[in-house]
Point group: C3
Chain length 108, copies 3
């Protein structure tokens, strides 16, 4: 089984990232897929435009994660995030831990 | 022997990517090198400005690959690509497979 | 112990990269951390705005590295770099070597 973590730190890249995840799942539904958002990209979790598409991918098994450091910097509360988004203390640490445990890294 | 996959998804990044590949080959001619283009970057395979430089690097052993999903989205036919470009069904899957088999990942 | 290499090739990304390194070190002071700058990003090593923050992170153990190919292209001499910056012949080769020896890769 393949494991992959998609990294996004710019809000403008959400359409590209979500398209990438969709294409990946179309081919490999059984993979472990995580989307890790840090820096300004966490604002995408507050944007109506992307939530429906994210929820659909989440329902199909993709994990959506936000960086707590970034939420603090962007003044976003955990309670304001969609229910399918989980939070890690530091996005960069999550990226390293996942790669260390065998995840491939993709930065669209 | 080193293995590396360069990922490009923005057309504007072709000069940077090709410069990176050239620099890498100057130091490690024996490595396995793949350039994987998806999203809007596949348009670079239709652009006269880059083809000569790509062909030269291809002649020296670098592999140039296009994502079929991206070709579809950009309305580019496989027949329209230079003869040295190969096509994979999904660029993101190629990126994960290659990393899983030991390739380093670089996103210029 | 975790190992991570941060890749930067655009000068504008220095604030983001340095913030990422700071966040990583706040969580994992014991990790091996390298920041590899190539292309236009090596100009950041000449910019007063970032040097103090880099030196502080360097004092805490982060390694700052510049690509010689990029220094040549940007007409920067090794002697002009801060004393804590080391130079490698080719940044892309450094990125591959480090990943091959177990470093995670992050491109902010």
């Amino acid at each position: 089984m393949y494991h992959v973590i998609f990294h996004i730190d710019e809000k403008e890249k959400w359409p590209l990232v979500l398209g990438n995840v969709k294409n990946f799942m179309a081919d490999h539904m059984a993979a472990e897929i995580e989307v890790l958002a840090n820096a300004a990209a966490v604002n995408g979790y507050r944007s109506g435009a992307f939530i429906d598409q994210m929820r659909e991918l989440s329902d199909q098994g993709a994990k959506f994660v936000a960086c707590q450091n970034a939420l603090n910097a962007q003044h976003i509360l955990k309670e304001d995030l969609p229910e399918f988004v989980s939070v890690v203390p530091a996005g960069v640490v999550e990226l390293v831990k996942k790669q260390s445990s065998g995840y491939a890294y993709i930065k669209p």
